[in-house]
């Protein structure tokens, strides 16, 4: 029994660490600011971090293959700007949303192809993707564009009550993240594609020798990340009812931080999407605490996220180094 408990702890160590850190952080926050004890404060985490959760899910798959996607913020900003301008010109939301998703997927697919066929390092290709997407957003509009579409407004204000919890609600777009998470869990654990992603991250050479479709999987993973970024962009533009090329600067580090905090190894091959959820929640909690404090300025969140990423990379390397030794 003790042996099995030990094995369980070893296997799920990073995830349990993340979970306990989240509970600890939330507990400390609730002690400091009693307003955080309300159930709504917890659900606000999902409302405020919807786009981040969606992006982080896509990022998890990319990092699991041993790659990285820095273009997420750019694709998000481009999606908000493009959809805002399209809506302003009277295009129906029913057309805009699929169009944006196709655009994001196509951008991701192009990046994936460049990475796979031309052997360009993932970070450099996606960094250029980031600048490219932001640049296109600026070409579309140099200033912020407001969205006045009635369907977007309806979505932005549609409250969904949480069952069994009185007076608690989330907005309709905030449900997209958790729904996507369920799909991602299924895909990563119960499909052939998911296992291939892990195999590539562990050892690309072996994966290829095993006859797994390495190239195809990598391209799909980057397309998926592009899709998630576009989806996040739609959610983002609904919540702010605006589009601007400067939106979500630095969200790539937020997403990477969430993924790392969730126990996914940056070199790929280990970790899972469930952890990513808690990574996002930890980030959300810390930002909430800073906001409840009120006197701390916004730049502290940037510094905080940086420090947090570093700490978690440290924790991870200790964990996996010990695992390798044993």
């Amino acid at each position: 029994m003790a042996q099995r408990t030990k094995l369980f702890l070893w296997r799920h160590g990073p995830l349990l660490t993340t979970l306990s850190i989240f509970i600890l952080a939330y507990f400390i926050g609730a002690q400091m600011y009693p307003a955080m004890q309300k159930p709504q404060a917890f659900f606000n985490l999902f409302i405020n971090n919807g786009p981040l959760l969606i992006i982080s899910i896509g990022m998890t798959f990319v990092i699991l293959t041993g790659g990285i996607d820095l273009s997420v913020g750019g694709v998000l900003a481009l999606t908000t700007t493009a959809s805002a301008v399209l809506l302003q010109n009277g295009v129906s939301p029913a057309l805009v949303m699929p169009l944006m998703l196709i655009m994001g997927t196509a951008l991701g697919c192009i990046l994936g192809c460049i990475i796979h066929f031309f052997k360009v390092q993932p970070f450099i290709a996606t960094l250029m993707g980031l600048f490219f997407a932001r640049g296109i957003a600026y070409i579309i509009s140099l200033t912020s564009v407001t969205i006045t579409d009635s369907f977007y407004k309806y979505l932005a204000l549609s409250q969904v009550p949480i069952p069994f919890v009185p007076n608690a609600y989330v907005y309709l777009p905030s449900l997209i993240g958790p729904a996507l998470l369920l799909v991602a869990i299924y895909v990563s654990f119960f499909t052939r594609f998911g296992r291939t992603v892990y195999a590539i991250g562990n050892n690309e050479q072996s994966a290829r020798l095993m006859g797994l479709p390495v190239g195809r999987t990598k391209i799909i993973v980057y397309s998926l990340s592009g899709f998630c970024s576009a989806l996040a962009g739609i959610v983002f533009s609904i919540s702010l009812l605006a589009g601007y090329g400067q939106f979500a600067t630095g969200i790539e580090l937020d997403a990477i931080a969430s993924v790392v905090m969730g126990g996914t190894l940056l070199t790929g091959g280990a970790g899972n999407v469930i952890g990513t959820l808690f990574g996002v929640l930890i980030e959300g909690t810390i930002i909430s605490i800073l906001q409840y404090n009120g006197t701390l300025s916004s730049w502290w969140t940037r510094i905080g996220v940086g420090v947090l990423t570093l700490v978690f990379i440290g924790i991870q390397s200790i964990f996996y180094m010990q695992k390798r030794h044993s």
């Binding site: 990285i68 820095l70 460049i114 066929f117 031309f118 052997k119 360009v120 390092q121 970070f123 450099i124 290709a125 960094l127 250029m128 993707g129 980031l130 600048f131 490219f132 997407a133 932001r134 640049g135 296109i136 600026y138 070409i139 140099l142 090329g245 630095g250 790539e252 580090l253 990477i256 940056l266 070199t267 300025s297 916004s298 730049w299 502290w300 969140t301 940037r302 510094i303 996220v305 940086g306 420090v307 990423t309 570093l310 990379i313 440290g314 390397s317």
Partner: protein, 368 residues
Amino acid sequence: MNSTPLGKRSVSSTPLLSRIRESRLFWPLAALAVILIFDAIFIPSFFRIGVQDGHLYGNLIDVLNNGAPLMLVAIGMTMVIATGGVDLSVGAVIAISAAMGAVLINPALGDRLVTNDILTKDATNTPLGVIVLVTLLAGTLCGLWNGLLVSRARIQPMVATLILMVAGRGIAQLITNGQIITIYYTPYFWFGNGFILGLPVSIYIVATVFAIAWWVTRKTPIGLFVESVGINPKATYYTGISEQNIKLLAYTFCGFCSAIAGLILSSYVHSADGNNNGLNYELDAILAVVMGGTLMSGGRFSLLGSVIGALVIWTFTLSMYTLGVPDKALLAGRAVLVLLVILLYSDQSRRLLNRLLDRKGAHHGAAD
């Protein structure tokens, strides 16, 4: 310098055409020539150089002066990329050192407001020497931090420097208390606006840093060590070279270069802004380095190539400004350009190009 890299074939037997084609400086110089020819046709006024108050002015001088910070960052970035890494934090380091300099000069710390008194007095809180020293030190420390993370903590360069790229802008805002600090201290402006013998001061600074970097990498073994770390870190380690210290040196040097760039930039615009100083410099620096013929995977590098790459970027940018294209609209174009250059240098396209050109060369050889 290294105009003819020694390939498998010896230099003397290679035909002139392919020697030019294989030269690292060929592509950046060709790009520069194309842009200048474009300017000569469409914007003839671009080449006008005048003399005013005993110094030169004109678009070409502006290219040198505005491009100086980028040239410096590109020199530092070349060393980092040569070790097989990358430094994404250069823009943030520029912001940090600019903020440092501005805060030391400007007595208006925290919530205090700048009074008319200070404006007219040209006042500074600290002597100029200390300002320069602390500014450079701040940037160098940032570089050292990156170097420690990469070499000692063994975090991938991209992630290690990404942390400072995002957190660094926060730190810069922390230093300036979230304000855009305007500088009213005239001697400080000399770095970005001064002239020596008719040429901008900044270009002399670039020349000095370049000379030092060139001497260190070409006249001492350090250049060889850097290249060997970039080609195979493990083998370098086994030959007894401290691969960690070489990396540490490269990142620290890059931080130092970014700090000088920050000094020049803040002096040029008379202010420090944590959010916008050195914005997108990481993109431009990487572009300059890859255009200069240094491979992203590390190994052989060309400092002169990177400097020419930086010149190409600024000649292009200023030409576009002259034509009235807004700065932000150029962003997408530059990103595509980086990818194109990288693809051009990639093994796949190089093999294709060589196959095409060698076929022609073979015919010539048969005729001989």
